[in-house]
């Protein structure tokens, strides 16, 4: 049974969800201004937020939520214990489980601090640890709240590849303000402001329609080009190299040089 939310108004943010049905699989962004209710919506889907009125059906989906602040998901004194505590002793010795643990350790580069306290880690490392925990738990629906926050360039890239791989046969929802990061690999998204769209839209179009204040000069320039109907793509500004190439093509096009 598909996960659905109907006639729900979230407390504080006042976000109204008339009808929302979860797509079967894939990665979708949840974008919107601060305080619009994105994190609350993810908490609602994860069953952590109770609301009066409306219906929320989660079916038999196994849902995992990576929260915005990793400190809210760290409870042990060792990184290894943090990853392994939910599992029973029998399972922990099963060869296939040990293989999964090794894979997760390798993916999130936990070897270097496997026997350290999670409280000594940087925020980015703590976030990687929580990703590792949910990577091993392997939920059907993974909800990520501001996942790129405090990650360096390399780990943003690795996280993007991990999410894209998961999204082939799982559903991943990402609440974020990091437009360049989500635009680099997410095709569709929901806009969250007052109400929640019931169907996802093209994320590039969503970025352009919503006219968010530009984060930099390149984004501003791209918006201007799009406003003037220049033959440029909606997402090319996120990569300065592609944008530069496009600018050269544009120059040739303008001056008739081929």
């Amino acid at each position: 049974m598909a996960m659905t939310v109907q006639g729900v108004t979230l407390p504080y943010s006042g976000l109204f969800i008339e009808h929302w049905q979860a797509p079967a699989a894939g990665v979708y962004a949840v974008m919107g201004p601060n305080g619009a209710g994105k994190s609350q919506w993810l908490s609602l889907l994860a069953g952590q937020l109770k609301v009066r009125g409306g219906t929320v059906k989660r079916g038999r989906h196994r849902i995992g939520l990576v929260m915005q602040h990793p400190e809210h998901q760290i409870a042990e004194d060792l990184v290894s214990t943090e990853v392994l505590w939910p599992y029973g002793a029998t399972r922990r010795t099963a060869p296939e489980f040990l293989a999964s643990v090794a894979q997760v350790k390798d993916r999130w580069a936990l070897d270097g601090f496997w026997d350290d306290s999670p409280w000594t880690l940087s925020t980015g490392q703590k976030r990687r640890l929580v990703f590792a925990v949910y990577d091993l738990l392997n939920p059907d629906v993974l909800l990520l709240d501001e996942p790129s926050e405090s990650l360096d360039g390399e780990w943003k890239d690795r996280t993007r590849r991990w999410v894209a791989e998961r999204a082939r046969d799982h559903l991943v929802l990402i609440a974020s303000h990091d437009w360049p990061w989500v635009l680099s690999f997410v095709d569709q998204g929901y806009w969250c402001e007052g109400t929640l769209d019931n169907k996802p839209k093209d994320l590039g179009e969503l970025w352009y329609e919503r006219q968010v204040p530009p984060s930099g000069r390149l984004e501003e320039l791209w918006r201007e080009l799009l406003d003037r109907s220049a033959p440029v793509g909606l997402r090319e500004w996120i990569d300065p190299q592609i944008a530069a190439g496009q600018a050269v093509k544009l120059w040739h096009w303008k001056h008739g040089a081929h």
């Binding site: 994860a46 069953g47 952590q48 196994r62 849902i63 995992g64 939520l65 929260m67 602040h69 400190e71 809210h72 998901q73 760290i74 409870a75 042990e76 004194d77 505590w85 939910p86 599992y87 029973g88 399972r91 409280w119 925990v133 738990l137 392997n138 939920p139």
Partner: protein
């Protein structure tokens, strides 16, 4: 009008109103007087436009009921009717006192209350660090406790989610899993709070600069004490 007046009064007037109100309500021994206080509380609640939630109502009722039960249990030698009447009166009084206190505290900034009390204390005993430290403890507790409560809820929800995802039944000690991270997070947060306070110029031995005492505050204080004297003399 009443709301505007409430905003302009000095927090020390509010402290006096709280103390005098509690004393008068608790001294009331007539049914009509208690009825009058309850009607006034309903009016005040309506004027504040802050409806009481079911949880708050339940907390008021259960707190007052606890005192009523204690009054009944602590007088085993009295006749049954006296004990019942005493329990009922204690329940009503505590209910009114708690309700009044909640209303006053909701209508005032707790931060303003504590900093004005710190100012008053330092005026009496001098700018001693102990007074500032006491105020700091109260302020930090007020800021910390709701944040810690929210953290605890997140941690418990996460523990429950992980157990379900791992296919294992929840254990009794999962509910306590939030204790250690809460201590660690508190230590980390307290550093930030201390730094923020210091950079804003807070020092334990320096007298804060609260809102000045105005003619309106003198009038309100006079009216409050007059009300207390009348209530006491007339045995309302």
């Amino acid at each position: 009008m009443a709301l505007e007046a409430r905003r302009t009064l000095n927090a020390l007037v509010v402290v006096q109103a709280l103390a005098i109100g509690i004393a008068v309500i608790y001294m009331s021994a007539d049914i009509w007087a208690m009825g009058l206080w309850l009607v006034l509380l309903v009016v005040a609640q309506w004027r504040l436009r802050q409806p009481m939630t079911a949880r708050q109502g339940l907390a008021l009722l259960s707190g007052a009921a606890l005192w009523g039960i204690l009054a009944y249990v602590n007088r085993p030698l009295e006749p049954m009717r006296t004990r019942e009447a005493l329990a009922a009166w204690t329940f009503i009084r505590f209910f009114a006192v708690l309700w009044f206190s909640v209303l006053i505290l909701r209508a005032t900034s707790l931060w303003a209350l504590v900093s004005h009390l710190e100012w008053a204390l330092k005026r009496v005993i001098g700018p001693r660090a102990a007074a500032g430290e006491l105020a700091l403890m109260a302020l930090v507790a007020m800021r910390f406790i709701p944040v810690l409560g929210a953290s605890a809820r997140h941690l418990r929800a996460d523990a429950r989610m992980r157990r379900q995802l791992a296919g294992n039944p929840a254990r009794w000690n999962d509910a306590l899993r939030f204790v250690m991270p809460l201590v660690m997070a508190s230590i980390l947060r307290s550093e930030n709070v201390a730094e923020a306070l210091w950079t804003r110029g807070w020092r334990a031995g320096v007298t804060p600069w609260p809102k000045p005492w105005t003619a309106r505050d003198w009038a309100a204080t006079g009216a409050l004490w007059l009300f207390l004297i009348i209530a006491w003399k007339e045995k309302i």
